[in-house]
Each structure stands twice: as structure tokens, then as C-alpha cells.
Symmetry: C5
Subunit: 104 residues, 5 copies
């Protein structure tokens, strides 16, 4: 799993039947900034995730990929390989806060 | 999942029996351009995807990989790891449009 | 899936029982050359694939990875994660030929 | 599998039901330092792993990813793709110790 | 699958029950040297693999990853995602030997 920031959304009318009704979010995976180790920064990658938790733009989310992405009630048996499994409240690294949802 | 642009096709006569009849598209994964964040740009990667939705050259599509790629009616039980699950109509990032199918 | 060029082979005497009798090819994944977009070039990666289609050195092949690699008659229930699912005859990108088996 | 260092933790209140009660660790994958080959160094990546072994900050752990991450008693049937399967005591490379938990 | 060199080992006392008794090797994935194409060189990555074939330090091995890594008698139902499926005797590329176990 990894942390990503929700930065947008995707609209698709023609899609696999089992995707109908699923909210599709644009998410950008984040990593620890390597020099100061005090903040999260974008990896430059852009993914699309299914969300059943109500995450909104600007939220940091926890993503699961692969076959495990199908193990939520919403994604079972669907052709989905990336899913939001949590909305992130806090990330602590080296015993310091590098992200807090409240402070945003 | 991720967004890719359909840029070509692949012909293979000698292939696994369960691939016969499948349309094989050349697709190039795209990501958000990092500086202006106003457009999608190629990642430089080249993949091959099975398509059951009728995507054409120039279309942006949503791709699923891994075992989940087998969860469409067309791909079940076939040795396929990348499938088109949607034709993209619009992508919004930072509350702005970075891709719209109509404007192409 | 992706396109790779067969450039060699691998011999292993001590191996998992279920691999006995399988032909092991050295394959190098290829991608579209980014500037001119008129040819395929090596990604610099080196993989090993199981082949049940009779691909030879110099052939371009279509590879499937992950659990889907086990969905051919030859690879079922074996510890194999990369398999040749097609021998490539032609690749068209931007409505031009970037590879044709006959011209090689 | 690969070695990673536990450097933090993540708090998520809104999450998939099957994740409730799971400890979420921030882990940074490590690799052998390439020049001297005498120590482990960070790859610069940041992942989130489920831990059922009681690993603490500063520990080096062995991680498993993909569907195999669900094959521990704690992670079965959960949307989890990265799990701690061991706390590392020692790593030997080129017949020298490159990590020993006791010396930390 | 890919070729890797066994360069060390890992000791873990606290680990998942199903990992007890498994030998854990440090392995470094290798690729073809790109300029001369006459030797194998390290990719700089460091992985951990389970071995049931008796591979020793200095050996080149064939590795399988993902769910297929569980399809050996030793790894079935264990949280393992990387396994040695063969000890490499010879690698030929461009009709020349780039590795031979006997010559080492």
C-alpha cells in the first residue's frame, strides 16, 4: 500500500458494465521528501483509483493495488486494480508529523 | 488503473488459442505534465492491451492490469494482463480540465 | 502485455519439477523510440519467458506476466510468471508500420 | 520479498471495515549500497505495510507484496497488498555483515 | 522471470509461522550489459528469495515473482512472493555465451 493525494476525477461513459456507478479518482502517489524528511512530495506518477469511502479532492488516501484491490464490498468481482482503502488523518515519520489532515 | 492513449495496433497470427478474436491495441500510458499541471503527457512506456469496447486510435482509455484484467466478459480465463475498461471522456485535475474527448 | 525481442536462451538443470520440459527464452522488452516514433527500441531490461509457440531468436513476441501467465495449456499450475502468448507479425503506430516480421 | 526500514506510522479513521484493528507502518525499502557493498541504503520509496509481528520504528523488516500478502492469519481476505512477514536480525552479503539488529 | 545472483542471506527469528524452515537468500537481479552485450551486470536492486533448490552464494538463479511464486511444493500457502525456480547453468544471448556456471 502507499499514500496518494486525490487531485481530480475521470469521466467515462463507455466502460465495463461492472464499473458503472463507481467513482473514479485521479490520484498521485506521494513519498517522503528525501533531504529534510519533513514532508510528503509527489512521485510524479498519475493513477486512477476506485473510491467507496467518499474521499474528496485534496485528501490524502491509502491505496491498495492488485488482486487485493478487489477485496472491498464495492470492488468484488470487478476489473479494478487500484482502490482507496482509507482516508489518511496523520502520517508520522522519524517521530515527527509529516502530514495532518486537520492542519490542511 | 491508469490513463493511456491508443496509438496503434498489433497483428499476431501464431498466438495462444484463447487470444484468437481479441483486438490488440498499442497503448502509451500518460501522466500529468508536472510543471504546469494542465495537460497529460506520455510516460514513454509502450504496452499492449486487449479491447472489447471499440476504442480507436487517438482515444484515451482507462486500463486495468494484473489478475483484475481477466474480470471482463471478454477476457475471462485468457492469458491477458492488460485490458481496456473504459474510454475516457474527461479528466479534471486541480478543478480544471486536462483532457476532454470532445475538444480533440 | 508488452512486446519483447527474443535474443537468447537459458539452460537450467536443477529446477522446479514443473519447469522440466519448458523452453526458457531470454527476452528484452521493447518500446517505441520516443523522438521519431518510427521504430521499436530496447528498454534495457532482460527477462526470461516460457515459450510454447516455437518463437526463435530474433522474433518479436507478445508477453503476458503475473498470474495470467499461467493461463496457457503449457503453463497451468507451474511457478511461471512470464509467458509468450503470441509471435508478432506487425506493429502499427501512428498509422505507420514500426515493425514487420516479413521485412526482417 | 525485500528489506525495508520502519520509519513511522499512519493513522486512518475512515477506512475499509476489514482494515480496522490493523497497525499501519510507514516503511522505506532498502537496497545494498552499490559502491562499497558494506551497508544498506534507502531506495527513496515510501510504502505502507500491515504489521502483525510487533515491529517498531527503526527495525528492519522483511516485506511481502501482492496476493501473497494476504497469506498471514491477520491479513486473510483483507484489501491489503503489503505485509511484514519477518523482523530482520542479520543480513550478510559477500560473506560480511551489512546489518545486525544487535549492533544498532 | 529473471536472472539474479545470490550474494548473501538473511536471518529472521520473529517471522510468520509459515516461513519457519525456509532459507532466505539475498539476490541481486541481473541484466544484459547494454553496450558490448557480452556479460550480465547488476541492476542495483536487492531482493530476498526463498530457495528450495540448494542455491549457494555466487550462483546465478532463475526467480519467479507474484502468486506464481507459491506454486512450488515448498512455498504453497505461504506469504512468499519471490522464489528460486532454477539454478542457471548457461545463458546465451546473440548466439554467444554470456554466462556459464562451469567457467566461474
Amino acid at each position: 500500500m502507499f499514500v496518494a493525494k486525490v487531485t481530480g476525477s475521470l469521466v467515462s461513459t463507455q466502460k465495463a458494465d461492472s464499473l458503472v456507478g463507481h467513482k473514479l479518482l485521479i490520484v498521485e502517489p506521494y513519498r517522503l521528501e528525501a533531504d529534510q524528511r519533513r514532508s510528503l512530495v509527489s512521485t510524479g506518477r498519475t493513477l486512477v483509483a476506485v473510491d467507496g469511502l467518499g474521499a474528496g479532492e485534496g485528501d490524502y488516501v491509502l491505496l491498495t493495488q492488485g488482486s487485493s484491490a478487489r477485496l472491498t464490498p464495492e470492488t468484488r468481482e470487478a476489473p479494478i486494480d487500484t482502490v482507496v482503502v482509507g482516508i489518511v488523518d496523520q502520517v508520522h515519520i522519524d517521530q515527527q508529523s509529516v502530514y495532518s489532515r486537520e492542519e490542511e
